[in-house]
Every structure is written in C-alpha cells, then in structure tokens.
C-alpha cells in the first residue's frame, strides 16, 4: 500500500475577502468552544478573534494600511502632521492599549500630507503551518502529537497530558493550551475529513478559493503560477511564505501568498524549528559532559596524586 501524498493548504491572501467563513466552519466542524474577546470589543479593525489559539484554529487578520491599492481617492488632502501624530493609524497598537482605556491622543494623520486617500485593507486567514520539521512533535513526551499519513501534524486529545512543552516549541505561536482543560489544541487539517476524501472545513467554506487544499506539490505549482501572475501585474510585493523547503522549518504544509512583509500579518519573518539545534546542542552537551567527567577524573586523579603526596 502506497502512502497518500503530503496534503496541505495554500492560502492566497490576495483573494481573501475577510468573510471569516473559515473561522466559523472550522469551529462548527471541530466543535471548538466560542471565545469571546475580553472587554467585548477589540478595536483591531474587524478582527475580534485576535490570533490563533486553543479555541481559534483559523484566524483572519485584518490589516489597514495607508498604502495604495486600487486608487481610492476621497478628495480630502490629509492635514500636515502635528508633532503628536504618528506615521500610521496603528490599530494594532491602539487595541493593545485596551478596549476601554483612552489612548493619550488620536493619531490622525499620515506622516506625509497628500496624495490623499491611499489606503488598503489586507486580509489573511492564518492556520497551523504543519511544518516539515515540526518542533511541537519533536518535544512531545507522550506521543500525542504525531505526523499523519498525509504529512500533517495532529494532536491526539486522548493522549495529550497537558505538559505544554510544545507551546514554546512552536516557532509560530500556534499551538496553545485550553484554559479550563490544560490540553493543547490546534488545526488537524481536518484529519477526520481528509481521511474520507473530503476537504477540510475551512477550504470547503471559503467562497473565493483563498484557502486551497490539495497535494502539497500541486499547491506549490499553483502558488508559483499565481505569484508569477501577480508579479506580471506589477504587484512586486507579492511573495510566498512557507513555500520554500529549504527554510528554517523545511517548508510549511500550510503556506501563504502574502502582499506584504510577513510581520505585517503577525507572522515571524524567518521561522526556525526550535529543535533544529538540538542535535548540535546534544553534541555540545556530550562534549561538555565528557569534559566535565574528564575534569572530575583529572581532579580526582590529582587528589589521588596529592593525597599520595600527602601521604
């Protein structure tokens, strides 16, 4: 029996409309608890789920930028900046100041007045990356985390003992412990669906095919073609993220087409599997241990010598 090909997601954020159908479909299918934001209002653009976590396995980021895309022009030149103004209306940092607390002032102007109205709104549905080299899996002491026949990384909820080692191991901050439960939860790439030939719930629900599911090889080809198309259209900032098998995690099983730097979407620019250095570290540990043992032995020997002398 031949193993199925490695399956994954290609999330093309250039066609994401931010409808959050993926978030809802994911929660419905996987029976994930609701997770209301504290304070009731995040103010983070239209983002109320705020990031991936134990109770959010798909998360749509909304990024408002004063940068051109499409040519909105409201006809009102922005006023010149005052000393108090910041370069961008950074809703993320504003939200960080808390929902009900008052920021010191409203940053209201761009750094440069004129040409008015350049504005774009980026949306991107984030998910577990199902890394080629998955640190969460490496550190799991119980074997709860395992790699499936589809090359995806899945937590077995009946085995997880809640040790939490995997949480700091994840270079993307994806895997997370559920508060009243202790166990860790994350995207399974709908292991129970793909096993019967269905596509994951989020991909099924996505109206614009921003989320595409399929054999990773095919997805990479599709992504390369899409990238070339966007570059051809002059969208030079378009890039693939997690596509490269030579990156710090050996490439992602769930990779993305982004329209800006990864940091803009809350993604680490150069993720590295946190267990990458373990073998080398163990070698060092071994060397150190040997050195230690040697030292002790030497000291012991020396003691013997001196003791002998003393004697």
């Amino acid at each position: 029996m031949t193993a199925p090909p490695r399956m994954g997601f290609f999330t093309d954020t250039s066609v994401c409309i931010g409808c959050k159908a993926c978030e809802v479909a994911c929660k419905e299918w996987n029976a994930i608890p609701a997770d209301f934001p504290e304070g009731g209002f995040t103010g983070t653009s239209m983002d109320s789920s705020e990031g991936l976590g134990a109770d959010t396995w798909r998360h749509v980021a909304f990024v408002e930028q004063r940068r051109p895309l499409g040519g909105q022009d409201p006809g009102v030149p922005r006023t010149a900046p005052t000393p108090h103004d910041v370069a961008h209306l950074d809703v993320l940092s504003l939200a960080g100041q808390g929902a009900s607390s008052a920021p010191a002032h409203i940053p209201a102007s761009p750094a440069e007045p004129g040409p008015a109205g350049d504005f774009r709104w980026l949306m991107s549905s984030d998910v577990c990356k199902h890394c080629t080299h998955a640190a969460c899996l490496d550190v799991c002491p119980t074997g709860s985390l395992f790699r499936t026949e589809f090359g995806t990384v899945v937590v077995q909820e009946d085995i997880c003992n809640g040790c939490g080692y995997c949480v700091p191991a994840c270079p993307y901050g994806v895997i997370d412990q559920r508060k009243d439960d202790g166990r860790v939860w994350k995207c399974t790439l709908c292991y129970d669906r793909i096993g019967v030939g269905a596509e994951p719930a989020c991909a099924k629900a996505c109206p614009t095919d921003s989320i595409q599911f399929g054999p990773l090889d095919e997805l990479r080809e599709r992504a390369d073609a899409r990238l070339a198309q966007l570059h051809g259209a002059g969208i030079d900032e378009a890039r693939l993220y997690g596509r490269d098998p030579a990156d710090g995690v050996g490439g992602d099983g769930a990779f993305f087409l982004l329209l800006d730097e990864p940091e803009v979407y809350g993604l680490p620019p150069d993720p590295v599997v946190t267990t990458r250095d373990l073998p080398r570290m163990w070698r060092h540990v071994g060397t150190a241990a040997l050195a230690l043992v040697g030292g002790v032995a030497a000291a012991f020997a020396s003691t013997i010598v001196t003791g002998g002398r003393r004697r």
Partner: protein, 903 residues
C-alpha cells in the same frame, strides 16, 4: 457585496480573475473595496448625482450605443408639449401639487399617447392616507397636518366605522400596476434621428446637462479625475464586444428617492446597451435568501402573485373592468386576464366560475397605501389591533425602532415567530422604553405570543435569488420540540379557522371557506408537503395535468396557476427547481441548474442581445439571434421573444397584445416594447431622476434649489416620536452636522435574529460600534475603543468607537464633510448586545414603494456613553429644542426660495 453577500462575491472574484474591472462606489471602504480595482467613496445619498453625471458624460461624448438606443429604447419617442422639466421649474417637474406632495402626470405623456383612463378614476379620492376625524386615535399621533388631511378625506360615508380609506395618489400607479409599467396606448410619434427637441433623447440630454463633473465633485465629494476614470472604464467596457453589469443592494433603495436611484442606473445601462445582453444588467442583491421569492409571491400589500396589481376599492368593481383597466394593449401584459383568472382558480378552485367573476370579489381591496409604516401608524392610532411578525425583527430592524415598539404596545395581540427570542417579542418587559420609564409593563395591554420557527435546514422549500433562479432545498433535520415551519403554521392556522367557520352562512366567510386548502401532510407533525404548494403555484389544466408555460394560461377558467411567472417550475410533474446538474456537465448558461422564471429564461429581454436585423451585435457577445434558414430565434438561452417573429416584422395596425409587438420590440413586457429612458406614467415622483438631498442632510442641495424630493411620503407619518431635522442651510441644521449611514457587516445578519444567538458569529463581532474617521475623532474627542453616543431627532444610542480610514472624509461644496457609519445588527437580546442603529432613523418614505430612508441622514456624535433612564429622552429633546424642531420641520416644502443651487 463581499461584506453582505460573500458567497455571491465568489463570482465577482471569478470575473476579476478573467480580467473584469471591479469598481466599488460606497461611502465606506468595505471588504468589497479591498478587492476592487477602484474604490470611489461618495457622500451617502448622492448616487443620482453620481450616475446622472455619468449619463451626462455618455450623452455629451456620444458614448451611448447608438443603434441599440434607437431600436430598443424610447429615445426617439416624442413627448407632449405640456411637459416641463426640472430645468424649467427650478428643480421640479410639471404637475406638482405642493400641498399634496404628489404629481399629476398628465403632462408627462408621449405625444399622441394616453395613459389608460381607468387609472384616472383613482384620483377622485383623497391623496394622502386619511387620518381619523373622530378622535379615537392616539392624541399623541395627531397633528395639524392630520387634521388638515381630513379636509381631503374621501368622504367615506360609513358613519362611525373607523376608516383608513384614502385614495391612491394620482400618479401612484406604483401602487397598483404590476411589473409592466403603466399601461399606455395610442400611436406615438417618433424621430429616429433623435433631433426633434421633444424626443426623449433631447429631453434627457437637457435634463442631465447640469450634472457636470464639477457638480458631481461638489455634490458627491468625488474628485473629477476619479469620476472621469469611472466614466471611461464604464464606457470602454460597454460596446458591441463588451458589457458591464451593475450590482446594488439597499444602499440604493433605502432612500426617499430610492426608486429613482434604480431608474438612473436603468437609464445608464439602457444608453450603454447593457440590458438583455450577457454580462450586462442591473442586479439587486436582496437582503435575505428568497426575498426575491417573497416579491414574486408577494408579502406586499399592493400586488398579487406575479406582479398582478391588487384591486382597488373604488376602481375595481368587477373582473372585466379591472382587467381592461390594468392590462396593456401591447406585449405580454395584454394577457393579464388569463393570469388573473388562473390565479383565482388556484385560490378558489371549483367555487370560481365565470358566473361569479371567478370569485374576483373575494380578493381584498386597496383603499390606499397600507405599507408597513402606515400599519405602524394605524397601530399607534389603535386602528390595527393584531400583528403577525414572521421572519422580521421590527424592534431592531425597522426604521425608528422606538415607534415600532410603541406601535406594538398599542396592539391587542402580537404573534412573533422566530428561532430566537428576538427584541420584537420581549420589548414589553425589557425594551429601552421600560428602562427610560416611557412604558410600564403593567400598563401594556398587548398579548404577546412567541412561537418557535424552523430554520431552512429543518424544512423543504425553495429560494428564489436575484436572477429569478429558483433553487430547491431539502429538509436536513427534523425541527426540535415545538418548532414548526412557517408553512406548517399558516396551513394549520387556516385549517383551524376554516374548522371554526364551518357551516357558517355568513357571506363574508365564503372567501375563507371556499379556498382550496387541502395540501397533503406528512410525518408526526402533519407538515404540509412543500412540493404540493410548488405544484399549485406552477398550475394545472382542467385534467390536473401540470402546465409547462404561462402561454398555456386561459381566462375561461380552464387553467389554474398560483403565479403565472412561475408556470413551468413543475413542468411534467417534476420539481424543476430541484435540478442540480453540475456546471461541468452542461453548457455555460446552465439551464439544468434550478429553474428561472419566466420559462427558465436566464436573461430577460434577450432579444436585445441581437441587433435589430437579428444578427448578434458581436460574436463575442452572441446570445440569442435570428436564424433566417430556420426562421426562428435560436441561441444559448430561451429567447425572450415570440419564437418565430421575424426581426423585420411589422404588426398590423389593429393588432393587440403580443401580436402588436414589432420584430424589434425587445422589451416585450413594456406597453410600447421599449426600454424606458423617460417614464411617461407610473412613477409618483417624476418621469426622470433628479438629485434631491435625503430628508435629513447636512448639505444644501448643490443641484437644484429644491432641497428634498417634493413627492416623498412624509405627511402620513408625522408623529411626536418621528420628528424631522432641519437640513442644509435651514436654521438648526448645524445641530446635526454629520452625515450618517447604516449598513451590515459580514459577521451578522440583518436585525440579528439569525446571528446574535449563534456563538460562532457573535464572537466575531461582539459589540455595536460606530465608524469614524481620524479627523472626526479628533474634532469630537472620540477615543478609539472607547464609547460614543450618536444623536438624531428621534433618539440617542451608544456604541464603541472604531476610528478608521475606512470611513473617509469628503470635500462637499468646498467643505470637509464627516460621515458616521453604523452597523445595525444589535439589540438588547442575544449573546452580544448593543443599541440598535434604527433607533436613530425616521419613518420617511420613497413614494413609489414606501421604503424607509435608512442609508442617509444626519446626526451628532459625542464622546462617552449615552444617558440612562429619563435622561435619555431628555437629551434627545434638548437637541430638538436647540435645533428649533417643530412638527412641521422637514415636512413643509416651500419650493425654490433659498439661494442655494443653481436654478
């Protein structure tokens, strides 16, 4: 569209992937804008000026589709000498009765044409909804206007009987003439050179000449370059080789000039040759699944199934009179008698016979406008005492939500069917007026029944979507507990009423007792078979054989059909709406997916996809064409034309009905076979669109001296809880200095009944918020993430503050205009709660279709939370005092007295 119809937006994305240019015109930057090629923010309520500007650009630069316009529109028709345009009369058309806020459309006629006489008979009655004169209504609801209206009452002589009798406005054929437009007759003069000064074309040119790019910029706040870019993109893409489509939603309709918004788009699309051709058209995105269906099989007071007009008390004494008055002489509406008799046979079966006019007398009669908001007024006045609320949440979703609740508090009984315990069912114990002390639970006499309703997954049925496509859905699960479908409720309610009336000899019970009410039921709950209802709608002949086409319908009682335009949806006894053949297994028009009315035709008026000679306009856009060898119309779709009528056919002089249509009369439902650039009759507020400001606007009308639509429907809703604000240059207008618009967001559904009880949706948008620009936030001291309260003359609400560039400021008449954006999904109940935006809106209506104006008004916004208890109405009152608002503010029009605009 991406915001409110994300699933449908996939087709826009598909078009975009195939090279389509997407232009989004909207005051706010939405999810749609984020994916559009061009977002054009404009001031809410100014789309007629924007579209009118494009029309002017098209006409001035000769970018219209000349051959299409000459052959298929009424551009060449000559209008009578008496017509006066807004250019002649300082912003109004000839025939305006200021006191009545209505138009006499006599001067709008084509030269030599007549509007059918019967419509005139309706004019003998009063023009506004007539108020009670016996003082029985709520005093609070009364006004001087109401008293003055009595003078115009129709003299209903029924003594002490409470009467809401009123006439239909003279021009209010919108009330009662179905989908074919007003019937007109006569031989019209035309000038196909389009040079005669009274051709529709020349009138159009003069009318829109005012709508220059400069004026568009000044009115809409859209810079000239942006506007011209839109003109160019649209014109370049509207040729024999290419077509452009318009998509709109209630952002275009919820205005005092809503119908004229759509008219403006229709004129533009007809001029550009974008109607009846693939890739063209004007698509209305409806607010719920199957709202199109509930217009076709209407939940409206003024039409019967299939857009047959509802008979009127004064002018529809019998079937023959009604049909001869309402049918068109030309085109498919000439067969109105067949459609109506078949409908009556479907309602009353064997009881409907030629001898009793097929029970035509059983149909209810209009006595005037009985729209939703007039019903609210009637409730407040104690005249309407019972109310069914099905699939609706007026306490949150209808304009002036407080009025809606006060009206419900005046009822004897209220039945609410919903799947959540919505605000409309609980206002009597926890509504905002209980908190302010304006209502006390123990004083409310309304008996409220809440009945749990089944969701679409719990029942069989059909959805009809915007392109008239019926798609069947099958029940997935049994509804739990006492939950029942609406079909179950209405069928068994009718059944029980009929049981109670059984044996009655009272003549007034005959319409109920004679109904055919024998649907088969199934299961332990006796759920009626939805498919049996569909079969009845489709219709059958005297042998019970299902019909396959509305052309089989007869006016002799030999056929029954519940909705003539749906005839064929159960052809051959097969549920055609349930067909789901994948697109990959059939041609691109996909006739075997669902079923589209009429006749499974996917594009209406598709004769216009071919040139007058019958050949396609272009190979690229070939759709339906004349095959000279086979001597019939062929192509990708079901031709929307007599199948064998040659393109050069000239009807005999004495022909009527369909036979009177020529080989180039592509708009077969219209009385003259033409797309109407100019409407000689049928609209209540003018034969051409004109930009008027919303009822409440911070801006003085830059286009005409006339501030507001002079024919808007307002006098019938004057009420102390429905005060209007001063606008533009009027004193006190600066008290409400900001433009306000309301809208939906992707996370919630309308008034929240389907989303605020769903944890997975509620958590995605957990709080009511207002969207303001950074500049407005600075001006008013609003804090991102903090609280603000928004005030109008009706109420004050609070919301969390979202400071965002997505609500850009605009430059209007030389000044910066701030807009406040409010989603309207929240109310007091559910998992996530908040104030309802509709507390702020008013009852003021488009006069054609009686829709409210919720998409453009004016407000003030202040930092912090709103007052509690009695301080809440007190704050609203203090604003009203400051603005000098009286019961006549915004109601009386003085005409062209101010200096604004350019007469």
């Amino acid at each position: 569209m991406a915001e409110c119809h994300p699933v449908g937006f996939q087709w826009v994305m598909e078009a975009k992937a195939r090279g389509a240019t997407v232009i989004h015109v909207d005051p706010r930057f939405t999810r749609t804008s984020a994916l559009a090629d061009l977002h054009v923010p404009l001031r809410a309520g100014t789309d007629i000026a924007f579209l009118g500007g494009i029309i002017n650009h098209v006409l001035q630069n000769e970018k219209y589709f000349h051959d299409y316009v000459v052959a298929y529109t009424n551009a060449a028709t000559i209008v009578g000498e008496d017509f006066r345009d807004t250019e002649d009369l300082a912003g109004v058309f000839s025939g305006l009765d200021r006191e009545d806020k209505s138009y006499d459309f006599e001067t709008w006629h084509y030269e030599g044409g007549m509007v059918q006489a019967a419509s005139g008979e309706r004019d003998q009655v009063g023009s506004e909804r007539v108020k009670e004169s016996d003082g029985a209504g709520s005093d609070g609801a009364r006004s001087d206007q109401a008293r003055s209206d009595q003078a115009r009452s129709d003299g209903d002589g029924s003594g002490g009987r409470k009467s809401r009798a009123s006439g239909v406005k003279r021009a209010a054929r919108g009330e009662a003439h179905g989908s074919g437009g007003a019937g007109i007759s006569g031989e019209f003069e035309t000038d196909e050179t389009l040079q005669h000064p009274r051709t529709v074309f020349q009138i159009l040119k003069r009318h829109f000449a005012r709508y220059t790019p400069e004026l568009v910029a000044e009115t809409c706040g859209v810079p000239e370059e942006t506007f011209l870019r839109v003109c160019e993109l649209l014109e370049e893409n509207s040729t024999p080789e290419r077509t452009s489509a318009f998509v709109y939603s209630v952002g275009w309709t919820h205005h005092t000039v809503g119908v004229q918004y759509i008219r403006t788009a229709s004129i533009l699309q007809a001029l550009l040759g974008n109607i009846g051709r693939p890739g063209g058209g004007i698509l209305a995105l409806r607010g719920h699944a199957s709202i199109q269906g509930s217009t076709d099989i209407p939940t409206l007071f003024n039409i019967l199934p299939g857009y047959i007009p509802m008979p009127h008390a004064e002018s529809s004494p019998d079937l023959t009179t009604f049909v001869s008055a309402e049918k068109a002489e030309k085109g498919y509406w000439a067969e109105l008698g067949s459609y109506l008799v078949s409908l009556l046979k479907s309602y009353w079966g064997p009881a409907a016979t030629p001898d009793n006019d097929f029970c035509f007398d059983y149909l209810p009669r209009l006595t005037g406008s009985h729209s939703s908001f007039e019903t609210v007024m009637a409730q407040l006045e104690g005249e309407c005492t019972g109310f069914f609320v099905l699939g609706e949440n007026p306490a949150v979703g209808s304009a002036n939500a407080k009025m809606q609740r006060l009206a419900m508090a005046s009822l004897d009984w209220l039945v609410v069917r919903d799947f959540s315990l919505i605000e409309s069912a609980t206002w009597w114990k926890d509504g905002p007026e209980i908190e302010t002390g304006e209502l006390r639970t123990e004083d409310i006499g309304t008996e409220v029944f809440f009945l749990p309703a089944a969701a679409h997954t719990e029942k069989d049925g059909s959805f009809t979507n915007t392109q008239r496509l019926l798609q069947w859905h099958h029940q997935a699960v049994e509804p739990a507990g006492d939950v029942r479908s609406d079909l179950w409720f209405l069928f068994h309610l009718g059944r029980r009423i009929r049981e109670k009336l059984a044996g009655s000899t009272d003549e007034r019970d005959r319409p109920v007792l004679d109904l055919t009410w024998d649907y088969p039921t199934k299961g332990s709950t006796d759920e009626p078979e939805a498919e049996a209802v569909l079969a009845e709608i489709n219709g059958w002949d005297g042998h019970g054989t299902p019909l396959s086409s509305y052309q089989q319908l007869r006016d002799d009682g030999s056929t029954a059909c519940g909705c003539w335009i749906y005839c064929g949806t159960y052809a051959d006894g097969v549920n055609q709406a349930a067909r789901r053949k994948p697109g990959t297994e059939q041609d691109w028009v996909a006739h075997e997916w669902g079923w589209a009315w009429p006749a499974n035709r996917r594009i209406l008026y598709n004769r216009a996809s071919a040139a007058p000679d019958g050949a396609p306009w272009s190979e690229r856009k070939a759709y339906v064409w004349w095959d000279p060898d086979e001597k019939k119309w062929v192509g990708h779709d079901v031709p929307d034309f007599s199948p064998t009528k040659a393109p050069d056919h000239v009807p005999p002089k004495d022909a009527t009905g369909v036979a009177a249509l020529s080989g180039t009369d592509a708009f077969i439902m219209q009385a003259d076979g033409k797309a109407w650039l100019y409407v000689p009759a049928g609209l209540t507020d003018g034969p051409l669109p004109a930009h008027y400001e919303p009822q409440e606007s911070p801006v003085a009308n830059p286009v005409y001296p006339e501030q507001r639509n002079p024919a808007r429907q307002i006098d019938s809703v004057v009420h102390p809880e429905n005060r209007f604000q001063p606008s533009g240059d009027e004193p006190g207008a600066q008290v409400y200095p900001y433009a306000l618009t309301t809208y939906r967001i992707a996370e919630h559904h309308t008034a929240g009944g389907m989303s605020r009880w769903s944890p997975y949706l509620s958590e995605l948008a957990p709080a009511m918020f207002c969207e303001v620009s950074p500049e407005l936030a600075r001006e008013r001291g609003l804090t991102h993430g903090g609280w603000a309260h928004v005030v109008t003359a009706r109420n004050v609400i609070e919301a969390r503050v979202m400071v965002t560039d997505r609500i850009p400021d605009l430059r209007v008449r030389g000044e910066v205009l701030h807009q406040v954006g409010l989603p309207y999904h929240w109310g007091a109940n559910g998992l996530v709660t908040g104030d309802a935006a509709n507390e702020l809106t008013s009852l003021v209506m488009d006069p054609n279709v009686h829709i409210m104006e919720t998409k453009a008004l004016a407000c003030d916004i202040r930092p912090g939370r709103r007052p509690r208890g009695p301080d809440r109405p007190a704050l609203v009152e203090s604003y009203r005092r400051r603005a000098g608002i009286t019961e006549r503010t915004g109601v009386d029009d003085t005409g062209a007295t101010r200096t604004g605009g350019t007469a």
